[in-house]
Protein backbone atom coordinates (compact mmCIF):
# COMPACT_ATOMS: atom_id res chain seq x y z
CA UNK A 1 0.00 0.00 0.00
CA UNK A 2 2.90 2.34 0.61
CA UNK A 3 4.18 2.65 -2.94
CA UNK A 4 7.28 4.78 -3.35
CA UNK A 5 6.38 8.23 -4.63
CA UNK A 6 8.23 7.71 -7.90
CA UNK A 7 5.79 5.04 -9.08
CA UNK A 8 2.71 7.20 -8.57
CA UNK A 9 1.05 8.47 -11.73
CA UNK A 10 1.18 12.22 -12.23
CA UNK A 11 -2.57 12.45 -11.68
CA UNK A 12 -2.07 11.85 -8.00
CA UNK A 13 0.37 14.71 -7.64
CA UNK A 14 -1.93 17.26 -9.24
CA UNK A 15 -5.41 18.38 -8.28
CA UNK A 16 -8.89 17.13 -9.06
CA UNK A 17 -9.50 19.30 -12.12
CA UNK A 18 -6.47 18.11 -14.11
CA UNK A 19 -7.48 14.56 -13.19
CA UNK A 20 -10.97 15.07 -14.58
CA UNK A 21 -9.53 16.69 -17.70
CA UNK A 22 -7.38 13.62 -18.19
CA UNK A 23 -10.29 11.28 -17.60
CA UNK A 24 -13.30 13.11 -19.06
CA UNK A 25 -15.36 9.91 -18.90
CA UNK A 26 -15.14 9.94 -15.11
CA UNK A 27 -16.47 13.50 -15.07
CA UNK A 28 -19.36 12.54 -17.35
CA UNK A 29 -20.17 9.50 -15.20
CA UNK A 30 -20.14 11.70 -12.10
CA UNK A 31 -22.55 14.19 -13.67
CA UNK A 32 -24.93 11.41 -14.82
CA UNK A 33 -24.90 9.82 -11.37
CA UNK A 34 -25.51 13.15 -9.66
CA UNK A 35 -28.46 13.73 -11.98
CA UNK A 36 -29.91 10.29 -11.21
CA UNK A 37 -29.53 10.75 -7.46
CA UNK A 38 -31.13 14.22 -7.63
CA UNK A 39 -33.99 12.86 -9.75
CA UNK A 40 -34.51 10.08 -7.22
CA UNK A 41 -34.53 12.49 -4.27
CA UNK A 42 -36.77 15.07 -5.92
CA UNK A 43 -38.90 12.54 -7.81
CA UNK A 44 -42.24 14.30 -7.07
CA UNK A 45 -40.89 17.51 -8.64
CA UNK A 46 -39.79 15.88 -11.88
CA UNK A 47 -43.04 16.25 -13.80
CA UNK A 48 -44.25 12.97 -12.39
CA UNK A 49 -47.63 11.75 -11.21
CA UNK A 50 -48.43 8.91 -8.79
CA UNK A 51 -46.35 6.02 -10.18
CA UNK A 52 -48.82 3.43 -8.87
CA UNK A 53 -52.09 5.02 -10.02
CA UNK A 54 -53.70 2.96 -12.78
CA UNK A 55 -55.97 4.24 -15.54
CA UNK A 56 -57.19 1.24 -17.54
CA UNK A 57 -58.49 3.50 -20.31
CA UNK A 58 -54.99 4.81 -20.96
CA UNK A 59 -53.25 1.46 -21.34
CA UNK A 60 -50.15 1.06 -23.55
CA UNK A 61 -50.25 4.64 -24.83
CA UNK A 62 -47.31 5.90 -26.91
CA UNK A 63 -45.28 8.86 -25.59
CA UNK A 64 -47.29 12.11 -25.52
CA UNK A 65 -47.41 15.48 -23.73
CA UNK A 66 -49.38 13.94 -20.88
CA UNK A 67 -47.34 10.72 -20.70
CA UNK A 68 -43.75 11.57 -21.66
CA UNK A 69 -42.70 7.95 -22.10
CA UNK A 70 -46.15 6.48 -22.66
CA UNK A 71 -48.05 4.16 -20.32
CA UNK A 72 -47.71 0.49 -19.35
CA UNK A 73 -50.20 -2.38 -19.54
CA UNK A 74 -52.10 -1.08 -16.49
CA UNK A 75 -52.17 2.51 -17.73
CA UNK A 76 -49.49 3.73 -15.32
CA UNK A 77 -47.19 6.56 -16.37
CA UNK A 78 -43.83 5.05 -17.44
CA UNK A 79 -41.83 8.26 -16.87
CA UNK A 80 -43.08 8.52 -13.27
CA UNK A 81 -42.31 4.87 -12.61
CA UNK A 82 -38.85 5.32 -14.10
CA UNK A 83 -38.05 8.32 -11.88
CA UNK A 84 -39.47 6.75 -8.73
CA UNK A 85 -37.75 3.48 -9.66
CA UNK A 86 -34.42 5.28 -9.45
CA UNK A 87 -35.06 5.59 -5.71
CA UNK A 88 -34.97 1.82 -5.26
CA UNK A 89 -31.75 1.41 -7.23
CA UNK A 90 -30.04 4.30 -5.45
CA UNK A 91 -31.14 3.12 -2.00
CA UNK A 92 -30.14 -0.49 -2.68
CA UNK A 93 -26.78 0.52 -4.19
CA UNK A 94 -25.87 2.85 -1.32
CA UNK A 95 -27.21 0.65 1.49
CA UNK A 96 -25.56 -2.53 0.26
CA UNK A 97 -22.25 -0.75 -0.37
CA UNK A 98 -22.25 0.89 3.06
CA UNK A 99 -23.37 -2.20 4.98
CA UNK A 100 -21.17 -4.77 3.27
CA UNK A 101 -18.11 -2.53 3.37
CA UNK A 102 -18.75 -1.70 7.03
CA UNK A 103 -19.29 -5.30 8.13
CA UNK A 104 -16.58 -6.64 5.84
CA UNK A 105 -14.13 -4.09 7.22
CA UNK A 106 -14.72 -5.12 10.83
CA UNK A 107 -14.56 -8.85 10.06
CA UNK A 108 -11.52 -8.45 7.80
CA UNK A 109 -9.59 -6.32 10.31
CA UNK A 110 -10.17 -8.73 13.15
CA UNK A 111 -9.57 -11.87 11.06
CA UNK A 112 -6.43 -10.46 9.49
CA UNK A 113 -4.92 -9.49 12.81
CA UNK A 114 -5.97 -12.27 15.16
CA UNK A 115 -4.45 -15.43 13.73
CA UNK A 116 -6.55 -18.11 15.41
CA UNK A 117 -9.75 -16.40 14.27
CA UNK A 118 -8.44 -16.05 10.74
CA UNK A 119 -8.75 -19.74 9.82
CA UNK A 120 -12.34 -19.99 11.06
CA UNK A 121 -13.52 -16.74 9.50
CA UNK A 122 -11.88 -17.47 6.17
CA UNK A 123 -13.46 -20.93 5.95
CA UNK A 124 -16.87 -19.35 6.47
CA UNK A 125 -16.05 -16.80 3.78
CA UNK A 126 -14.89 -19.57 1.39
CA UNK A 127 -18.21 -21.34 1.96
CA UNK A 128 -20.16 -18.14 1.28
CA UNK A 129 -18.13 -17.48 -1.87
CA UNK A 130 -18.83 -20.98 -3.16
CA UNK A 131 -22.56 -20.25 -3.29
CA UNK A 132 -23.41 -18.21 -6.39
CA UNK A 133 -24.45 -14.76 -5.09
CA UNK A 134 -27.74 -14.54 -6.96
CA UNK A 135 -28.86 -17.98 -5.75
CA UNK A 136 -27.99 -17.13 -2.16
CA UNK A 137 -29.92 -13.88 -2.45
CA UNK A 138 -32.90 -15.66 -4.03
CA UNK A 139 -32.95 -18.18 -1.21
CA UNK A 140 -32.67 -15.48 1.48
CA UNK A 141 -35.52 -13.46 -0.02
CA UNK A 142 -37.72 -16.50 -0.52
CA UNK A 143 -37.43 -17.57 3.13
CA UNK A 144 -37.74 -14.10 4.64
CA UNK A 145 -40.46 -12.67 2.43
CA UNK A 146 -40.07 -9.82 -0.04
CA UNK A 147 -39.44 -6.32 1.31
CA UNK A 148 -36.88 -3.68 0.44
CA UNK A 149 -34.89 -4.49 3.58
CA UNK A 150 -34.84 -8.23 2.93
CA UNK A 151 -33.59 -7.52 -0.58
CA UNK A 152 -30.83 -5.25 0.75
CA UNK A 153 -29.69 -7.83 3.30
CA UNK A 154 -29.95 -10.69 0.80
CA UNK A 155 -27.74 -8.82 -1.66
CA UNK A 156 -25.34 -7.72 1.06
CA UNK A 157 -24.54 -11.18 2.45
CA UNK A 158 -22.86 -12.57 -0.70
CA UNK A 159 -20.87 -9.31 -1.08
CA UNK A 160 -19.28 -9.48 2.37
CA UNK A 161 -16.64 -12.17 1.64
CA UNK A 162 -15.15 -10.09 -1.17
CA UNK A 163 -14.69 -7.13 1.16
CA UNK A 164 -13.33 -9.33 3.95
CA UNK A 165 -10.73 -10.84 1.60
CA UNK A 166 -9.64 -7.42 0.42
CA UNK A 167 -9.31 -5.99 3.93
CA UNK A 168 -7.56 -9.10 5.20
CA UNK A 169 -5.01 -8.99 2.39
CA UNK A 170 -4.20 -5.37 3.28
CA UNK A 171 -3.96 -6.21 6.99
CA UNK A 172 -1.63 -9.14 6.33
CA UNK A 173 0.83 -6.88 4.48
CA UNK A 174 0.55 -3.93 6.82
CA UNK A 175 0.88 -5.88 10.08
CA UNK A 176 4.51 -6.67 9.22
CA UNK A 177 5.38 -3.00 8.70
CA UNK A 178 7.88 -1.51 11.16
CA UNK A 179 5.43 1.12 12.44
CA UNK A 180 2.96 -1.55 13.48
CA UNK A 181 5.70 -3.53 15.21
CA UNK A 182 6.76 -0.33 16.92
CA UNK A 183 3.21 0.29 18.12
CA UNK A 184 2.98 -3.28 19.42
CA UNK A 185 6.31 -3.02 21.19
CA UNK A 186 5.33 0.12 23.10
CA UNK A 187 2.22 -1.67 24.33
CA UNK A 188 -0.47 -0.03 22.25
CA UNK A 189 -3.81 -1.78 22.74
CA UNK A 190 -5.16 -3.95 19.91
CA UNK A 191 -8.24 -1.87 19.01
CA UNK A 192 -6.07 1.23 18.80
CA UNK A 193 -3.54 -0.51 16.53
CA UNK A 194 -6.31 -1.66 14.26
CA UNK A 195 -8.02 1.72 14.09
CA UNK A 196 -5.06 4.05 14.05
CA UNK A 197 -2.41 2.13 12.14
CA UNK A 198 -4.10 -0.50 10.02
CA UNK A 199 -7.50 0.95 9.12
CA UNK A 200 -6.18 3.98 7.19
CA UNK A 201 -4.39 1.64 4.77
CA UNK A 202 -7.65 -0.13 4.01
CA UNK A 203 -9.62 3.00 3.13
CA UNK A 204 -8.47 3.72 -0.47
CA UNK A 205 -9.03 0.19 -1.83
CA UNK A 206 -12.29 0.00 0.12
CA UNK A 207 -13.68 3.16 -1.47
CA UNK A 208 -12.95 1.64 -4.86
CA UNK A 209 -14.49 -1.67 -3.81
CA UNK A 210 -17.57 0.12 -2.49
CA UNK A 211 -18.35 1.54 -5.93
CA UNK A 212 -18.12 -1.92 -7.51
CA UNK A 213 -20.31 -3.35 -4.76
CA UNK A 214 -22.89 -0.60 -5.38
CA UNK A 215 -22.93 -1.38 -9.11
CA UNK A 216 -23.28 -5.09 -8.57
CA UNK A 217 -25.98 -4.53 -5.92
CA UNK A 218 -28.11 -2.50 -8.34
CA UNK A 219 -27.64 -5.23 -10.93
CA UNK A 220 -28.61 -7.98 -8.47
CA UNK A 221 -31.69 -6.06 -7.26
CA UNK A 222 -32.88 -5.76 -10.84
CA UNK A 223 -32.25 -9.46 -11.47
CA UNK A 224 -34.06 -10.48 -8.27
CA UNK A 225 -37.08 -8.31 -9.13
CA UNK A 226 -37.00 -9.63 -12.69
CA UNK A 227 -37.12 -13.21 -11.39
CA UNK A 228 -39.93 -12.38 -8.99
CA UNK A 229 -37.82 -12.71 -5.84
CA UNK A 230 -36.99 -9.07 -5.26
CA UNK A 231 -38.60 -5.76 -4.39
CA UNK A 232 -42.37 -6.28 -3.92
CA UNK A 233 -44.19 -5.67 -7.25
CA UNK A 234 -46.16 -2.79 -5.74
CA UNK A 235 -42.97 -0.69 -5.42
CA UNK A 236 -41.92 0.75 -8.77
CA UNK A 237 -38.37 -0.44 -9.38
CA UNK A 238 -36.48 -0.82 -12.63
CA UNK A 239 -36.27 -4.59 -12.17
CA UNK A 240 -40.04 -4.80 -11.63
CA UNK A 241 -40.63 -2.63 -14.69
CA UNK A 242 -38.51 -4.99 -16.81
CA UNK A 243 -40.36 -7.99 -15.38
CA UNK A 244 -43.74 -6.42 -16.26
CA UNK A 245 -42.50 -5.11 -19.60
CA UNK A 246 -41.44 -8.55 -20.78
CA UNK A 247 -45.06 -9.73 -20.84
CA UNK A 248 -45.89 -7.46 -23.75
CA UNK A 249 -42.38 -7.19 -25.09
CA UNK A 250 -43.25 -8.25 -28.62
CA UNK A 251 -46.06 -5.69 -28.92
CA UNK A 252 -44.49 -2.77 -27.08
CA UNK A 253 -40.76 -3.20 -26.46
CA UNK A 254 -40.32 0.33 -25.05
CA UNK A 255 -41.74 -0.46 -21.63
CA UNK A 256 -38.94 -2.94 -21.17
CA UNK A 257 -36.29 -0.88 -22.89
CA UNK A 258 -36.60 2.30 -20.76
CA UNK A 259 -35.85 0.67 -17.40
CA UNK A 260 -33.21 -1.47 -19.15
CA UNK A 261 -31.45 1.60 -20.49
CA UNK A 262 -31.77 3.36 -17.12
CA UNK A 263 -30.18 0.39 -15.37
CA UNK A 264 -27.37 0.03 -17.88
CA UNK A 265 -26.53 3.76 -17.84
CA UNK A 266 -26.58 3.96 -14.04
CA UNK A 267 -24.46 0.87 -13.49
CA UNK A 268 -22.10 1.90 -16.28
CA UNK A 269 -21.62 5.30 -14.62
CA UNK A 270 -20.91 3.73 -11.23
CA UNK A 271 -18.38 1.36 -12.81
CA UNK A 272 -16.64 4.15 -14.73
CA UNK A 273 -16.51 6.21 -11.55
CA UNK A 274 -15.06 3.20 -9.73
CA UNK A 275 -12.37 2.76 -12.38
CA UNK A 276 -11.53 6.46 -12.10
CA UNK A 277 -11.31 6.27 -8.32
CA UNK A 278 -9.15 3.17 -8.64
CA UNK A 279 -6.70 4.95 -10.94
CA UNK A 280 -6.51 7.86 -8.53
CA UNK A 281 -6.58 6.16 -5.12
CA UNK A 282 -5.05 2.79 -5.78
CA UNK A 283 -2.42 3.03 -8.52
CA UNK A 284 -1.01 -0.40 -7.73
CA UNK A 285 -4.36 -2.09 -8.27
CA UNK A 286 -4.96 0.02 -11.36
CA UNK A 287 -1.79 -1.39 -12.89
CA UNK A 288 -2.91 -4.94 -12.26
CA UNK A 289 -6.41 -4.56 -13.68
Amino acid sequence: MSAPATTLPPARLTGLMPFLRRYPLVAIAGVILAAIVLAAVFAPLMGTRDPTSMSPLQRLRPPSDAYWLGTDHLGRDVWSRLVFGARVSVIVGLAVAALSVGLGLVIGLVAGYIRWLDAIVMRIMDGLMAIPGILLAIALVSVSGASLWTVIIAIMVPEIPRVVRLVRSVVLTVREEPYVEAAVSVGTKLPLILIRHILPNCIPPLIVQATYVAASAMLTEAILSFLGAGTPPIIPSWGNMVAEGRLLFQIQPWNLLWPGIALAVTILSVNVLGDGLRDRLDPKLAKRM
Binding site: I131, P132, L140, L268
Partner: protein, 312 residues
Protein backbone atom coordinates in the same frame (compact mmCIF):
# COMPACT_ATOMS: atom_id res chain seq x y z
CA UNK B 1 2.27 -35.31 -6.20
CA UNK B 2 -0.45 -37.69 -5.04
CA UNK B 3 -0.16 -36.35 -1.53
CA UNK B 4 -0.53 -32.84 -2.87
CA UNK B 5 -3.72 -33.73 -4.72
CA UNK B 6 -5.07 -35.53 -1.68
CA UNK B 7 -4.44 -32.44 0.48
CA UNK B 8 -6.25 -30.20 -1.98
CA UNK B 9 -9.19 -32.60 -2.20
CA UNK B 10 -9.39 -32.83 1.59
CA UNK B 11 -9.27 -29.04 1.93
CA UNK B 12 -12.58 -28.75 0.06
CA UNK B 13 -14.38 -30.73 2.76
CA UNK B 14 -14.55 -27.86 5.28
CA UNK B 15 -15.79 -25.52 2.54
CA UNK B 16 -18.55 -27.94 1.60
CA UNK B 17 -19.33 -28.31 5.31
CA UNK B 18 -19.71 -24.54 5.68
CA UNK B 19 -21.95 -24.42 2.61
CA UNK B 20 -24.13 -27.16 4.13
CA UNK B 21 -24.27 -25.26 7.45
CA UNK B 22 -25.30 -22.04 5.71
CA UNK B 23 -28.00 -23.77 3.69
CA UNK B 24 -29.26 -25.67 6.74
CA UNK B 25 -29.51 -22.67 9.04
CA UNK B 26 -30.82 -20.26 6.42
CA UNK B 27 -34.25 -21.85 6.62
CA UNK B 28 -34.13 -21.87 10.41
CA UNK B 29 -32.76 -18.36 10.95
CA UNK B 30 -35.73 -16.79 9.27
CA UNK B 31 -38.31 -18.25 11.61
CA UNK B 32 -40.26 -21.51 11.74
CA UNK B 33 -39.25 -23.64 8.73
CA UNK B 34 -42.49 -25.64 8.92
CA UNK B 35 -44.54 -22.45 8.60
CA UNK B 36 -42.37 -21.24 5.70
CA UNK B 37 -42.72 -24.55 3.88
CA UNK B 38 -46.46 -24.73 4.50
CA UNK B 39 -47.07 -21.27 3.03
CA UNK B 40 -49.30 -18.41 4.16
CA UNK B 41 -52.64 -20.18 3.77
CA UNK B 42 -51.83 -23.31 5.80
CA UNK B 43 -53.74 -24.13 8.97
CA UNK B 44 -51.92 -24.81 12.22
CA UNK B 45 -52.59 -28.56 11.89
CA UNK B 46 -50.95 -28.60 8.46
CA UNK B 47 -47.93 -26.77 9.84
CA UNK B 48 -47.75 -29.27 12.71
CA UNK B 49 -47.94 -32.21 10.31
CA UNK B 50 -45.05 -30.81 8.22
CA UNK B 51 -43.08 -30.22 11.40
CA UNK B 52 -43.41 -33.85 12.45
CA UNK B 53 -42.86 -35.28 8.95
CA UNK B 54 -39.63 -33.32 8.51
CA UNK B 55 -38.38 -34.26 11.95
CA UNK B 56 -38.33 -30.64 13.06
CA UNK B 57 -39.35 -31.66 16.57
CA UNK B 58 -35.96 -33.26 17.19
CA UNK B 59 -33.00 -31.27 18.59
CA UNK B 60 -31.25 -29.08 15.98
CA UNK B 61 -27.90 -30.90 16.05
CA UNK B 62 -29.69 -34.21 15.48
CA UNK B 63 -31.55 -32.69 12.54
CA UNK B 64 -28.32 -31.34 11.08
CA UNK B 65 -26.37 -34.59 11.28
CA UNK B 66 -29.35 -36.54 10.02
CA UNK B 67 -29.49 -34.18 7.07
CA UNK B 68 -25.74 -34.53 6.39
CA UNK B 69 -26.04 -38.33 6.37
CA UNK B 70 -28.94 -37.94 3.93
CA UNK B 71 -26.79 -35.67 1.71
CA UNK B 72 -23.92 -38.15 1.74
CA UNK B 73 -26.34 -40.67 0.28
CA UNK B 74 -26.99 -38.15 -2.54
CA UNK B 75 -30.46 -37.52 -1.18
CA UNK B 76 -31.38 -33.84 -1.55
CA UNK B 77 -34.90 -34.25 -0.25
CA UNK B 78 -38.25 -34.21 -2.00
CA UNK B 79 -39.95 -31.41 -3.89
CA UNK B 80 -43.03 -30.14 -2.01
CA UNK B 81 -44.90 -29.36 -5.20
CA UNK B 82 -44.24 -32.38 -7.42
CA UNK B 83 -43.39 -34.93 -4.74
CA UNK B 84 -40.38 -36.06 -6.80
CA UNK B 85 -36.86 -36.37 -5.35
CA UNK B 86 -34.82 -33.19 -5.97
CA UNK B 87 -32.00 -35.28 -7.49
CA UNK B 88 -34.45 -36.65 -10.08
CA UNK B 89 -35.58 -33.13 -10.96
CA UNK B 90 -31.97 -31.99 -11.29
CA UNK B 91 -31.16 -34.97 -13.54
CA UNK B 92 -34.17 -34.15 -15.74
CA UNK B 93 -33.21 -30.51 -16.15
CA UNK B 94 -29.43 -30.61 -16.23
CA UNK B 95 -28.88 -31.07 -19.96
CA UNK B 96 -30.05 -27.64 -21.25
CA UNK B 97 -28.10 -25.88 -18.48
CA UNK B 98 -24.95 -27.89 -19.08
CA UNK B 99 -25.19 -27.26 -22.84
CA UNK B 100 -25.72 -23.53 -22.36
CA UNK B 101 -22.82 -23.32 -19.91
CA UNK B 102 -20.58 -25.30 -22.25
CA UNK B 103 -21.33 -23.26 -25.38
CA UNK B 104 -20.90 -20.07 -23.35
CA UNK B 105 -17.54 -21.06 -21.89
CA UNK B 106 -16.18 -22.27 -25.25
CA UNK B 107 -17.40 -19.21 -27.14
CA UNK B 108 -16.24 -16.77 -24.44
CA UNK B 109 -12.75 -18.23 -24.22
CA UNK B 110 -12.37 -18.30 -28.01
CA UNK B 111 -13.36 -14.64 -28.25
CA UNK B 112 -11.99 -13.19 -25.02
CA UNK B 113 -8.47 -14.60 -25.00
CA UNK B 114 -7.42 -13.30 -28.46
CA UNK B 115 -9.21 -10.04 -27.58
CA UNK B 116 -7.24 -9.65 -24.36
CA UNK B 117 -3.93 -10.58 -26.01
CA UNK B 118 -4.54 -8.10 -28.80
CA UNK B 119 -5.41 -5.35 -26.31
CA UNK B 120 -2.26 -6.10 -24.31
CA UNK B 121 -0.12 -6.11 -27.44
CA UNK B 122 -1.46 -2.73 -28.56
CA UNK B 123 -1.70 -1.49 -24.97
CA UNK B 124 -2.75 2.17 -24.90
CA UNK B 125 -3.85 2.16 -28.54
CA UNK B 126 -7.37 2.35 -29.94
CA UNK B 127 -7.87 -1.43 -30.00
CA UNK B 128 -6.98 -1.54 -26.33
CA UNK B 129 -9.42 1.25 -25.55
CA UNK B 130 -12.17 -0.45 -27.54
CA UNK B 131 -11.62 -3.69 -25.62
CA UNK B 132 -11.69 -1.85 -22.30
CA UNK B 133 -14.94 -0.07 -23.25
CA UNK B 134 -16.41 -3.45 -24.16
CA UNK B 135 -15.33 -4.84 -20.78
CA UNK B 136 -16.93 -2.00 -18.79
CA UNK B 137 -20.11 -2.41 -20.85
CA UNK B 138 -20.06 -6.14 -20.21
CA UNK B 139 -20.06 -5.55 -16.47
CA UNK B 140 -22.75 -2.88 -16.67
CA UNK B 141 -25.48 -4.12 -19.00
CA UNK B 142 -27.80 -6.49 -17.11
CA UNK B 143 -28.08 -9.96 -18.63
CA UNK B 144 -31.80 -9.64 -19.31
CA UNK B 145 -31.41 -6.26 -21.00
CA UNK B 146 -28.81 -7.81 -23.30
CA UNK B 147 -31.11 -10.79 -23.86
CA UNK B 148 -34.12 -8.74 -24.87
CA UNK B 149 -31.95 -6.46 -26.99
CA UNK B 150 -30.70 -9.47 -28.97
CA UNK B 151 -34.19 -10.98 -29.23
CA UNK B 152 -35.63 -7.69 -30.43
CA UNK B 153 -33.02 -7.26 -33.15
CA UNK B 154 -32.18 -10.76 -34.33
CA UNK B 155 -35.35 -12.70 -33.60
CA UNK B 156 -38.19 -10.18 -33.98
CA UNK B 157 -36.88 -7.58 -36.43
CA UNK B 158 -34.50 -9.59 -38.61
CA UNK B 159 -36.10 -12.99 -37.97
CA UNK B 160 -32.72 -14.69 -38.25
CA UNK B 161 -33.09 -16.82 -35.14
CA UNK B 162 -35.94 -18.20 -33.02
CA UNK B 163 -37.18 -16.07 -30.11
CA UNK B 164 -36.94 -18.79 -27.47
CA UNK B 165 -37.04 -22.49 -26.69
CA UNK B 166 -34.61 -25.38 -26.49
CA UNK B 167 -34.02 -28.56 -28.45
CA UNK B 168 -31.53 -31.20 -27.38
CA UNK B 169 -28.50 -31.52 -29.69
CA UNK B 170 -29.02 -35.28 -29.60
CA UNK B 171 -32.47 -34.84 -31.14
CA UNK B 172 -31.94 -32.14 -33.77
CA UNK B 173 -28.50 -30.56 -33.90
CA UNK B 174 -29.36 -27.82 -36.40
CA UNK B 175 -32.30 -26.65 -34.30
CA UNK B 176 -30.16 -26.83 -31.17
CA UNK B 177 -27.59 -24.48 -32.73
CA UNK B 178 -30.21 -21.98 -33.95
CA UNK B 179 -31.90 -21.90 -30.54
CA UNK B 180 -28.78 -21.82 -28.37
CA UNK B 181 -27.06 -19.00 -30.33
CA UNK B 182 -28.84 -16.03 -28.77
CA UNK B 183 -28.73 -17.37 -25.18
CA UNK B 184 -25.02 -18.10 -25.61
CA UNK B 185 -24.33 -14.59 -26.93
CA UNK B 186 -26.36 -13.11 -24.07
CA UNK B 187 -24.59 -15.03 -21.36
CA UNK B 188 -21.15 -14.67 -22.95
CA UNK B 189 -21.21 -10.88 -22.80
CA UNK B 190 -20.21 -10.54 -19.14
CA UNK B 191 -17.99 -13.63 -19.23
CA UNK B 192 -16.03 -12.30 -22.22
CA UNK B 193 -15.59 -8.99 -20.40
CA UNK B 194 -14.23 -10.80 -17.34
CA UNK B 195 -11.79 -13.05 -19.22
CA UNK B 196 -10.63 -10.39 -21.70
CA UNK B 197 -9.82 -8.01 -18.84
CA UNK B 198 -7.70 -10.52 -16.96
CA UNK B 199 -6.02 -11.78 -20.15
CA UNK B 200 -5.07 -8.23 -21.05
CA UNK B 201 -3.70 -7.50 -17.58
CA UNK B 202 -1.65 -10.67 -17.23
CA UNK B 203 -0.29 -10.56 -20.78
CA UNK B 204 0.79 -6.93 -20.29
CA UNK B 205 2.68 -8.05 -17.20
CA UNK B 206 4.36 -10.97 -18.99
CA UNK B 207 5.29 -8.88 -22.05
CA UNK B 208 7.73 -6.96 -19.88
CA UNK B 209 9.71 -10.12 -19.03
CA UNK B 210 13.22 -10.88 -20.25
CA UNK B 211 12.28 -14.06 -22.08
CA UNK B 212 9.89 -12.11 -24.30
CA UNK B 213 12.72 -9.75 -25.23
CA UNK B 214 14.92 -12.78 -25.93
CA UNK B 215 12.25 -14.36 -28.10
CA UNK B 216 11.86 -11.16 -30.06
CA UNK B 217 15.64 -10.68 -30.30
CA UNK B 218 16.13 -14.09 -31.86
CA UNK B 219 13.68 -13.08 -34.57
CA UNK B 220 10.64 -15.04 -33.47
CA UNK B 221 7.54 -13.84 -35.34
CA UNK B 222 5.31 -11.63 -33.20
CA UNK B 223 2.27 -13.95 -33.36
CA UNK B 224 4.34 -16.75 -31.85
CA UNK B 225 5.79 -14.43 -29.23
CA UNK B 226 2.29 -13.42 -28.19
CA UNK B 227 0.51 -16.74 -28.22
CA UNK B 228 3.31 -19.15 -27.42
CA UNK B 229 5.67 -17.26 -25.13
CA UNK B 230 3.42 -14.65 -23.54
CA UNK B 231 0.02 -16.34 -23.32
CA UNK B 232 1.45 -19.59 -22.00
CA UNK B 233 3.13 -17.79 -19.12
CA UNK B 234 0.08 -15.63 -18.47
CA UNK B 235 -2.25 -18.64 -18.41
CA UNK B 236 -2.59 -19.20 -14.67
CA UNK B 237 -4.59 -16.07 -13.76
CA UNK B 238 -6.68 -16.47 -16.90
CA UNK B 239 -7.65 -20.05 -16.10
CA UNK B 240 -8.29 -19.05 -12.47
CA UNK B 241 -10.73 -16.38 -13.55
CA UNK B 242 -12.49 -18.79 -15.91
CA UNK B 243 -13.02 -21.04 -12.88
CA UNK B 244 -14.07 -18.27 -10.48
CA UNK B 245 -16.32 -16.81 -13.18
CA UNK B 246 -18.43 -19.95 -13.06
CA UNK B 247 -20.24 -18.41 -10.07
CA UNK B 248 -21.12 -15.45 -12.28
CA UNK B 249 -22.12 -17.83 -15.04
CA UNK B 250 -24.51 -19.73 -12.77
CA UNK B 251 -26.25 -16.50 -11.77
CA UNK B 252 -26.46 -15.56 -15.44
CA UNK B 253 -27.84 -18.97 -16.40
CA UNK B 254 -30.83 -18.48 -14.10
CA UNK B 255 -31.72 -15.21 -15.83
CA UNK B 256 -30.89 -16.32 -19.38
CA UNK B 257 -33.04 -19.43 -19.06
CA UNK B 258 -35.94 -17.26 -17.92
CA UNK B 259 -35.54 -14.85 -20.84
CA UNK B 260 -35.28 -17.60 -23.47
CA UNK B 261 -37.67 -20.05 -21.81
CA UNK B 262 -35.07 -22.83 -21.59
CA UNK B 263 -36.22 -25.72 -19.38
CA UNK B 264 -32.99 -26.03 -17.39
CA UNK B 265 -31.91 -25.77 -13.77
CA UNK B 266 -32.35 -21.99 -13.81
CA UNK B 267 -36.03 -22.35 -14.68
CA UNK B 268 -36.28 -24.96 -11.95
CA UNK B 269 -35.05 -22.36 -9.41
CA UNK B 270 -37.40 -19.67 -10.68
CA UNK B 271 -40.39 -22.01 -10.64
CA UNK B 272 -39.40 -23.14 -7.15
CA UNK B 273 -39.38 -19.51 -5.94
CA UNK B 274 -42.93 -18.87 -7.14
CA UNK B 275 -44.13 -22.14 -5.59
CA UNK B 276 -42.03 -21.68 -2.44
CA UNK B 277 -40.67 -25.16 -3.06
CA UNK B 278 -37.85 -24.75 -0.59
CA UNK B 279 -36.23 -28.23 -0.87
CA UNK B 280 -35.55 -27.53 -4.56
CA UNK B 281 -33.91 -24.17 -3.84
CA UNK B 282 -31.84 -25.74 -1.07
CA UNK B 283 -30.85 -28.70 -3.24
CA UNK B 284 -29.87 -26.53 -6.17
CA UNK B 285 -27.74 -24.24 -4.02
CA UNK B 286 -25.86 -27.28 -2.73
CA UNK B 287 -25.57 -28.69 -6.23
CA UNK B 288 -24.25 -25.45 -7.78
CA UNK B 289 -21.84 -24.92 -4.89
CA UNK B 290 -20.53 -28.45 -5.38
CA UNK B 291 -20.05 -27.84 -9.12
CA UNK B 292 -18.21 -24.60 -8.36
CA UNK B 293 -15.96 -26.16 -5.72
CA UNK B 294 -15.13 -29.27 -7.78
CA UNK B 295 -14.44 -27.23 -10.91
CA UNK B 296 -12.07 -24.91 -9.07
CA UNK B 297 -10.43 -27.89 -7.39
CA UNK B 298 -9.75 -29.47 -10.79
CA UNK B 299 -8.33 -26.20 -12.09
CA UNK B 300 -6.10 -25.95 -9.03
CA UNK B 301 -4.78 -29.47 -9.47
CA UNK B 302 -4.22 -29.00 -13.19
CA UNK B 303 -2.00 -25.97 -12.47
CA UNK B 304 0.31 -27.92 -10.26
CA UNK B 305 0.59 -30.57 -12.95
CA UNK B 306 1.10 -28.12 -15.82
CA UNK B 307 3.03 -25.25 -14.29
CA UNK B 308 6.28 -26.28 -12.63
CA UNK B 309 6.51 -22.86 -10.94
CA UNK B 310 3.59 -23.67 -8.63
CA UNK B 311 4.39 -25.73 -5.56
CA UNK B 312 2.33 -25.72 -2.42
Amino acid sequence: MLRLIATRVLSTIPVMGVVALIVFFMLRLSGDPAAILAGDTASSEQVERIRVSLGLTRPVYEQFFGWIVQLLRFDLGTSLFTGLPVTTLIAQRIEPTAMLALTTIVFSVLVAVPMGVLAAWKSGGWIDRLVMVFCVLGFSVPVFVMGYFLIFNFAINLRWLPVQGYTSPFVDFGRFISQITLPTLTLSFIYIALIARITRASVIEVLGEDYIRTARAKGQIELKVLFRHALKNAAVPIVTVIGLGVALLIGGVVVTESVYNIPGLGRLVVDAITRRDYPIIQGLILFFALVYIVLNLIIDIVYTLVDPRIRY
